[in-house]
């Protein structure tokens, strides 16, 4: 057992975990942040994507101990109070989700995609970048629309800041 200290969604947290504990299980089982999901166990599906120090990472592929001292953001931490993150709003407005299970990972990956491409995105790029996130419900059509829509919204939001 080890004590892992890190920052999650802006709050300092500490948890006593087995050394083999994965970050996703630290989040779900110890911190009750159940928005981050496990869909495959082999780092293929992306339902577990969170941000570590601002970068999208599959939290089923990171030991909790490796995240010690890091700044972790989960799906629960991206809205500002009642104000949804533009990516969350775009997923809702474009019907980019159905059962909702892949959605948190999709949104976290998509935010990272927009950040890395600086809002200059096209459909082909979004599709290629989403290769690591599997959705079984939407056929991706509306997810792609949502990401492109959010890229525009995030650009506007950034310009306003």
């Amino acid at each position: 057992m080890s004590t892992v200290k890190l920052t999650v969604n802006g709050k300092a947290v500490s948890a006593e975990v087995e050394d083999r504990t994965l970050l996703v299980h630290l989040l779900r089982d110890h911190l009750n942040l159940t928005g981050t999901h496990v869909g495959c166990d082999t780092s293929q599906c992306g339902a577990c994507v969170v941000h570590i120090d601002g970068r999208a990472v599959k939290s089923c592929t990171v030991l909790a101990g490796q995240a010690a001292g890091a700044n972790v953001t989960t799906i629960e931490g991206i809205a500002r109070g009642d104000e949804l993150h533009p990516m969350q709003a775009a997923f809702r407005d474009n019907h980019g989700l159905q059962c909702g299970y892949c959605t948190p990972g999709m949104i976290m990956s998509a935010i990272d995609i927009v950040h890395r491409h600086g809002g200059e995105l096209d459909e082909a790029t979004v599709r290629e970048e989403l290769e690591g996130n599997i959705c079984r419900c939407t056929g991706y059509h509306n997810i792609v629309k949502a990401v492109l829509d959010a890229a525009g919204r995030m650009k506007v939001a950034q310009a306003a800041e």
């Binding site: 869909g39 293929q44 629960e76 299970y101 599709r127 599997i134 419900c137 056929g139 059509h141 509306n142």
Partner: protein, 779 residues
Amino acid sequence: MGMEGIGASVVRKEDKRFITGKGRYVDDIKMVGMTYAHFIRSPHAHAKVKSIDSSAAEAMPGVVAVLTGKQIVDDKVGNLICGWAITSKDGSPMKMGAWPAMAPETVRFVGQAVAVVIADSKNLARDAAEAVVVEYEELPAVADMPSALKPGAPQLHPEAPGNVVYDWHIGDEAAVGAAFSKAAHVVSLELTNNRLAPNAMEPRAAIADYDAAEEHFTLYTTSQNPHVARLVLSAFYNIAPEHKLRVIAPDVGGGFGSKIFIYPEEMVALWASKKVGRPVKWTGDRTEAFLTDAHGRDHISKAEMAFDADHKMLGLRVKTHANFGAYMSLFSSSVPTYLYATLLSGQYNIPAIYAEVMGVYTNTTPVDAYRGAGRPEASYLLERLVETAARQFKMDPAELRRKNFITQFPHQTPVIMAYDTGDFNASLDAAMKAIDYAGFPARKAAAKAQGKLRGIGLSCYIEACGIAPSKAVGSLGAGVGLWESAEIRVNPVGTIEVLTGSHSHGQGHETTFCQLIAERLGVPISQVSIVHGDTDKVQFGMGTYGSRSAAVGLTAILKAMEKVEAKAKKIAAHALEASEGDIVIENGEFKVTGTDKSIALPMVALAAYTAHNLPDGMEPGLKESAFYDPTNFTFPAGTYICELEVDEATGKTSFVNFVAADDFGRLINPMIVEGQVHGGLVQGIGQALLEHAIYDSNGQPVTASFMDYAMPRADDVPSFKLSHTTTLCPGNPLGVKGCGEAGAIGASAAVINAITDAIGNNKLEMPATPDRVWHAIHG
């Protein structure tokens, strides 16, 4: 149509919790004192269980129990059932072997559970499972149907000689024989419908909690139909009587059929919870999903079509072998029979049809309904056959279809179904226009100049949805009725709760069902909530599958709504001192027509509950329920056209365009309908190009993770152009047909027809991987 009524693309009410990480799926739930189950599963496809030594595991700290198949059988937990009785052509009932929840003696597929470890944590349960020693005696296995049907093949169940579950048929063999004897042309095709793994993104999970004082169980489970689960667990598995078993299906992360069935893991969790006196949680991992979630499809078929000299269809003869895996899953028997062969007429006027279906056991994961369930297999077979015929006749495939379309309704097919309405020319026209079909030859030539092989493929599908008239399915062997129930509770201040037996696991019922209430009463959907997925709240329901929630579930809500409105109008008329017949409902108000007198819904509701001034003899309250049993199936139909290019050097396909023109009758929420189509199309495209659940000759699964099984990803598929044509379904008052499965039913034939058109070789099986396509081009 109001802003939130029928036909409005209202943004979904349920989305907020999903996009903020506040969804509540089974694995998100924790209970005090909860234990964790880990199953010990057979690594062999066929073996005797010689011994299980759990002593070392039981001695480990934190291990609560190790329970075996022998114990669950000794405790008289029932064997898994198959709920649809099929009779073979010789009149004999289908032949089934017993399926205990954990195998006491013999395992028949890789992944079948033999024991379970219950421990204080997930990791402890896994560690202890490693310490359980199971000794097996391997038996010869059969992994595919040709091997299983060979004389002398290893036998799975003594009850099913030759590994044959049933040998069933439908239609008029003599009439088909006569049609072929006078045929000017005969077109034939042999094809395989590849086995698929359903892969809802949320793995199955269950939490069982036994209350010893009340002798009462609660089960949280990933189910599409919690009431059916309770019924089966009570009536057949001897878990508990219905009033002592509450089944809750909270947020469920996709189903696609795979979460209809009641699986061994839920049964074991319930049984174990009573045995250990603590809540038991099981959460499957992805490999367990590949090993144990019922697979889909897996047919081998031979089809022949007879045409007259004018290329009119005369008769269709089909022989299909359907792989059931090692055991008969809950509705498996109905899938390749009444959900498949009854759709073999497609959109065509075929005077005579005869189909034979042999159900076969193999040492593989059980096979059951997966999105479309039988109808994709029928559609794929027929649409490839028609395309093959067009090429043989050197005719435009659209024209050959058009020549044979059913144009008069109602239309009785030779295989049970009575199509109520449709306009197949309209959807074909819409799709051809959307893809600029007329311009294709020029585009093909231009592509050729660029060194690319371009092809176009059509698929004109029909499906039977709105499952189903209870009397009809009962006469065909179904063990349940397929009606739906609803209850509407208008609260004293006028907010409304709608309780439904339908279950939403992505379909958006929390929005679309509210839209009906908004349409009828003119109230905002924010004042309405949908209650589903809990047997303690909703009295009964048959759940969600077979594209039935709008046609059957929503119609039940409408029937209850009509009763609410009738009573509310009486109350309003009494309060307004008007005649009941003069009351109209507009924008949440009950108005006396032609006057300015009105009373708002909250006041009517309050009057119903205060009961100070109700019409003489009226009961207080404003709550009504209804059961709705459909009178016929519904028949969504449409045309999909795929245009793609094949790289001759690599065999890789690239989509150029994919259009869909569907007739779903009335659309409640077009945005949600289109989302359903997108998802279905990608499952159909996945089957056509990527997905295949493969076993080696010993029955070892080769594709048991997302590393090996090719799920469609965002860069594998195109965006789609959708359109709708409309013939209202006459069978239900809303005129809806259902949209959940269409994409998966129609898409795969369009893709394969396009590839075979591009490469000029019709001999191609799914999935059409680059390797297969390359070989089809280069031999």
